[in-house]
Amino acid sequence: MKNTSKLVSFNSPTFLAYVLIAPAVIYLLCIVGWPLFETFRLSFTNASIAGEDYVGFENYEKLLASSKFSKIAIRTFVWTFFSVLLKLILGMIGAVLLNASLRGRTIFRILVLPPWVVPIAIGALGWMWVYNGHFGILSGIGIRLGILDGPFSFLAYKQSAFIATMVTDVWVGTPFVTLFFLAGMQAVPKDLYEAAYCDGAGRFRRFYHITLPQITPVIISMSLISAVSTFVSFDIIFIMTEGGPRGATTTLIIDTYKMALGNYKFGRGSARAVMIVLMITTFAIFYFYLLSRINKKVSHG
């Protein structure tokens, strides 16, 4: 009897539980929570280096009225959408390849990770080199093959810079997605495949009817995580193009940074930051809503 009561107290909510999480929570409240609150407050002021005054919704009115801002927002969504899509597709292809029982797969699994391990800033430098017109390999190969008739600087033109920065972002995100898809595939019970094989299901059908449904949860969580991190991706664009040429790669986060820390317009920068937070939150809520709808459908039939 005495033992059971001891066990109950062992698993019950305790003061101890809170004491253990308190340091982490307090730290995050100071370094993330307070700044988040302060961002909201500052967005209603005209804060700058000189000082601040309350201006109400002026910053937001200006933002929503400007066609430039909506252009930047649309650009960010397009950039994010295609980048995430490519990451998922490439991650899936990579995971299928690394999951196959081929010679050398242990080494392949290690080799896939460097883009994630190396600081993004340094990866971006490498890509700048690849894209360079005069000494980059892409332009070099293009000239050799006769596709280009002269040096082509990928980062110097609007469309190619947009695609080039996106490809670099895909490169940074793909290893992580590959790794998680791979882990998902390995958790699929082997007997499912064997049963399907005995029933005469081919490779492609087994992938479509077993692998895909089984790793759907991983696909869903990876697409959310990728979307959020891509939406606020900063280093790549800032290093490679600084938002140029002529604004072609200026995403919301780059615009926010330039406004706030380039021009020291903290108020107007904060309004932009709040818009980013609202967009991400809306996206996440919408995403979870859709998810629960899908789950319901699946469980009902």
Partner: protein, 279 residues
């Protein structure tokens, strides 16, 4: 199960080669650029091979940017410090999340995940003001303090998954036998969860190393404290850009993470995915 036919096998290896060309292309290009003499780099048309490649840039870069060694040390030092403090915050918190039930538990876990969404760049303005208020701008702390905060959430999720795998019966048995909470933590939990703590530490270290750029360019303007990622800009001179040395320095600059990675890659692949699959 059916074996791969030869054409399929060849096709798969072909795809693997294409995949890895994409993954490794910038590294190959960087390494290649670091070997070419500066005047070669600007030679048109593009040369795939030349016979005067050398490791000269790896020697000369220390003269061009005298503080280079210091920058690499800074990066390493700050990443280690961030990792240490992250673990200090995360180990007790993750244990608590794995073992106890308490009000707001699930909610606060989701909030932690949300913290990741507001990655540094969104919160830079108030962080800038906060650091200025405490007179921390242009110190190591300007990059360490926010660095820790953005390593905590994912680390808690990672480590929590590890703690949950340790059977609670072990602790209950010890508890019934009269062991104190402290004894349980230090004598049972700590030894059993070492692999999990190692994985979390590696994650925090890599993350800390990677996120230095944004904090460094925003919160620090003192050369002596610069991490390697922002120190690299010093190869861009008034007269010319020493591209080959810049590339050489980038490669040498990522050595600390690469070494950590190569020695512990087995833990990374297993550990990062262990917690994720279950959910």
């Amino acid at each position: 199960m059916d074996k791969y036919s030869l054409p399929l096998k060849i096709f798969m290896y072909f795809c693997i080669v294409i995949f890895f060309i994409f993954i490794l292309l910038p590294f190959i290009e960087m390494f290649y650029a670091s070997l070419r003499p500066l005047k070669h780099l600007f030679r048109s048309p593009y040369q795939f091979y030349s016979d005067d490649l050398s490791f000269w840039a790896y020697r000369e870069m220390w003269n061009t940017v005298p503080l280079l060694g210091r920058y690499i040390f800074n990066s390493f030092f700050m990443a280690v410090t961030v990792t240490f403090f992250t673990l200090l915050f995360v180990v007790p918190a993750a244990y608590s999340y794995a073992r106890f039930n308490f009000p707001f538990k699930q909610g606060s876990l989701w909030v932690l995940l949300a913290v990741n969404m507001f990655s540094g760049a969104v919160l830079l303005i108030p962080l800038f003001k906060l650091l200025r208020t405490f007179d921390l701008l242009n110190t190591y702390f300007a990059m360490i303090v926010p660095g820790i905060a953005f390593c905590i959430p994912t680390s808690i999720w990672l480590l929590k998954a590890y703690f949950e795998k340790i059977p609670v019966e072990l602790e209950e048995a010890a508890y019934v036998d009269g062991a104190s909470r402290i004894d349980i933590l230090t004598k049972i939990i700590a030894p059993l969860s070492t692999p999990g703590i190692v994985v979390t530490a590696i994650y925090a270290f890599i993350q800390a190393y990677a996120q230095q750029f944004l904090f460094a360019i925003t919160f620090n303007s003192i050369r002596e404290y610069m991490p390697i990622v922002s120190g690299l800009t010093e190869f861009i001179g008034y007269q010319s850009v020493k591209w080959n040395e810049m590339m050489a320095a980038s490669i040498v600059g990522v050595f600390p993470v690469l070494i950590v990675f190569v020695f512990l890659q087995k833990y990374i692949v297993e550990g990062l995915t262990a917690g994720a699959v279950k959910n």
